[in-house]
């Protein structure tokens, strides 16, 4: 580990200010590049490869991904400190991609954020060696974890990996993290049944201290990015779940004593 955390370098592809749905309060979301999963519905396909790549934007070829130090990011993130403070619990959120794919960088970013007194959150699949996760937990306020499916085979079919590691990690994280919130992308043809959502809710309610589960309805806003990256979008035929459907699933979740909401 580098002595000076502020010199640690990592690869990101975007910094989004005034993010109000990636954890509580007004936040700045840093999107890290690289992911272990290949979810078919992924709305940030440009995040998946760690390698920098070319995407067409406004007819021009632009490179996605750039390398920055923790210091550069933190100084940018701190410019909005007043808004984090005013919104009570605002701060930095690491998203991606999967931030755990760049563990040193993620550790350094979270620690630096805490040293500067701002709230931290990650949006993660928890698909990593638990020892890696354990190192960041002391510097993390909100772990926003995706659970996509309880069935390993189905999980593998749609994301490229089975779910055992993640579900095991969830149990440990629940014990050790300050706050774990489960988020479920509701994907038609994959997990949008009452039965499957109930299973996820049941699993969530079994996690020690976990009180919230958010349902994130599928959307196809990433579709054009696949085209701009020269890739095929496999979910063209899938429709966004209806409001009625989402409301019904919300009720299912609430039956398990969980606080729930639609959207982040």
């Amino acid at each position: 580990m580098t002595d000076n955390i502020y010199n640690v370098k990592g690869r990101i592809f975007n910094i989004q200010k005034f993010s109000v749905h990636d954890g509580p309060g007004i936040r700045t979301t840093v999107f890290l590049k690289g992911c272990v999963l290949r979810c078919r519905w992924c709305c940030n396909p440009e995040s998946q490869n760690y390698k920098k790549e070319i995407m067409i934007t406004d007819g021009k070829e632009t490179e996605v991904g750039y390398d920055v130090t923790v210091e550069e990011i933190i100084s940018d993130v701190l410019r909005d400190r007043v808004y984090y403070r005013r919104s009570g619990t605002g701060g930095i959120t690491l998203s991606g991609g999967e931030c755990l794919c760049q563990p040193e960088f993620t550790y350094a970013l979270l620690r630096a954020a805490k040293e500067n007194g701002i709230s931290t959150a990650i949006e993660s699949t928890a698909c990593a060696n638990y020892e890696v996760i354990k190192t960041i937990l002391p510097y993390l306020d909100y772990f926003l974890m995706d659970i996509k499916h309880t069935d390993g085979a189905k999980h593998k079919e749609f994301t490229g990996k089975s779910n055992e590691l993640m579900l095991e990690n969830a149990k440990k994280i629940a014990k050790e993290a300050k706050e774990l919130i489960i988020r479920v992308p509701v994907i038609p043809t994959f997990n949008d049944t009452e039965e499957e959502i109930a299973k996820i809710a049941e699993f969530t309610s079994s996690l020690e201290g976990v009180k919230e589960l958010h349902l994130l309805p599928y959307h196809r806003f990433g579709q054009d990015k696949y085209e701009r990256l020269g890739r095929e979008y496999l979910m063209k035929h899938i429709e966004t779940p209806s409001d009625e459907k989402m409301q019904s699933l919300l009720k299912t979740v609430e039956k398990y004593g969980l606080k729930s909401q639609i959207g982040g």
Binding site: F18, D22, I26, T29, D80, V82, F221, Q223, D224
Partner: protein, 842 residues
Amino acid sequence: MSEYVIRDIEKTERITKLIDDLYREMPEIEPDRAVIITEAYKETENEPVIKRRAHAFKKICENIPVTIRPMELIVGSATKKPRGCQVFPEFSFEWLEAEFETVATRKADPFYISDETKAKLSEAYKYWKGKTTSELATAYMSPETLTAIEHNIFTPGNYFYNGVGHVTVNYGKILEIGFDGLIKEAEDELKKCKPGDGDFAKKSTFLKAVIESLKAAITYATRYAELALNLAKNETDSNRKTELLMIANNCVNVPKKGASNFWEACQSFWFVQMLLQTESSGHSISPGRFDQYMYPYYKKDIDNNVITPEFAQELMDCIWVKLNDLNKCRDEASAEGFAGYSLFQNLIAGGQTPEGEDATNDLSFMSIQATMHVLLPQPSFSVRVWNKTPHEFLMKAAELTRTGVGLPAYYNDEVIIPSLVNRGLTLEEARDYNIIGCVEPQKSGKTEGWHDAAFFNMVRPLELVFSNGMDNGVLVGVKTGEVEEFDTFDKFYDAYKAQMNYCLELLVNADNAIDVAHAERCPLPFLSSMIEDCIKRGKTVQEGGAVYNFTGPQGFGIANMADSLYAIKTLVYEQKKFTISELKEALSNNFGKEVSDDEAVEITKEIAKQIKDNNIEVTEQQIAEIFKSVKNSGATAENKAKYEKIHQMLKEVPKFGNDIPEVDSFARDVAYTYTRPLEKFKNPRGGQYQAGLYPVSANVPLGAQTGATPDGRYAKTPVADGVSPSAGCDTNGPTAACNSVSRLDHFIASNGTLFNMKFHPSALKGRSGLESFVNLIRGYFDQKGSHVQFNVVSRETLRDAQKHPENYKTLVVRVAGYSALFTTLSKSLQEDIINRTEQGGF
């Protein structure tokens, strides 16, 4: 202590009906006031001007038609027809006569005018030739000033052609002691006047004029009492009959006496509000802290069970509607600058008491509710925000913002109070501030702020630097040397400052000339009776009777200037990407942008006219050359490519509005070129100049008179509004824009700053959306921004944003699990959001 109950009271059918009636027809110009005042003036030739004004006001109050509209609870209409306007020939008239045939069809704020009215006005106008304030003001201005105005360096049009307005009187005092009380004050003061006093002639004449004016206003109210009684006699509906009898009773009691209940207080307020706008054509007569001075009457009635909150809300709603019943016809150019028939009657809620405690009360919330009920442009509704503002009050205000009506504007006590103390107000007075017109803070009942004194286009002096003071062949600025000879940025910047200082002095010359003209030709005894210390000093507000006297001209184009100078500094002088003369060439060729034939013809005509106006012959050949250069046909393809390349480089330089400290602190310095020199000037009323940084809507028409600028802005396109970043240049989200804007010095711009932001309603969705929005405002204010207002945009706008994304780079929308800049979203997502808002029924 703040104490309040939040009630979400429903809108009544009466309010819907009153609004429907108000907007049924195009507003109309009515001749009565002009005819009466002309007769009154003819009756008082050679009398002291203040006596003539009082006599004229009396004659108007006695003779102008009185009208009670169906279902009204608060009465007093300036015109027979809803939203009509009277005419004020004593300020200016020639423009209206010239626009008789076009005023009904012009783009901005059209008014119907009948042939009969035209005939009556033409007859009246014969009298006014040479007698108006605008003609006297012109006579007082230096030739250089007139040249600068002609060349659009600044526009003092507002007070040049109209009354001054821009004032908040002591409404609370009138509610308490009535006009009888004010008359007594004037009479007591009159008794103290001794014939041997040095100021006897002026003071005693003034005091008599005050008394006559106040009595005339009482007479006016009495006429309404009589009308209401007559209507009641013939009224078959028993409810309405009772209402009319109550109205009659109210009009007998107020504004003559102090108000004894909330309804009377509302009626008294209204007579004052509308009669101020009958005495003079000045707009921005601002009700100010309505929730504060009305509260004792509300509280008393509620405590004694005299009134229900529902009826109190309905009365307030009626006032809100009435504020839209008043109207004003401006000349075509001014109408564009103030587009939207706006009278800028600013009413503000919340804030703190003079003692420094939170002032939020039931009426603060009911004021927001009234604005939600009427959803009309008037009053210009504002809220005061300070560190102890209740969260729920801001949340309620944010709900109003979410309706898309563009209200309220949010003001920061933490900046405005110290900035007013810095201008000499006591702490208690500063804490009691309200806003005039657009964004201008002042203490009610004590201030003649001359808040909207001129539009100053900060970009024009930059053009003068490039032309060594010349504009279309005429010396308009000062000779600062050929621009090619400036070998350092400092020399360039100094030349800009020199042009600014020169132009600002001319601006002051113009404003002071107009100021004197108003004092000499249109002193206002009725208004002066309600502003301290006019009665004690025996002077009108126009002559310096107010305790505080300011003149506040507003500059705009800060963002363009900051970005332009920063681009010149970095590209020309530091990186040496191109020379200043190459830049000059690119600017004068509008970066090689094609001009359509129609545009070219228009521009050529304009230039030829300007040259001819200066008595210089223009030959056919010269016109052809002008056309050619306008058409840009003179530029070779090679040159065009060069200009475009320069344009590209200019566009790529970092811009104000993106939270880049270096650029932002540069902008702060540029703003000082306007705000600091102004502070040193004095006005004829003994007060000081204070700068504002806001454009109303003048940044569009005045931008159309401005050439290409080194920030990459094309010729004739709008200049940046207020302190906002240039449209489309702040691409880093709302917090970054707020951070940049807050780096300007808002304290020195004590005549107000204006920051416009644009949001999509979806960004304010749900309670959590409102929370984030409110916290964004809090964060901006923590960093000492002074004002912010929001456009929450509609579906039509989103369609337009798709067609012209370059104009909407900072439009924030709520997407699925996040909020984002609209134009950065994919087409499919944009479509989705547009469809979603349709489903939302908005």
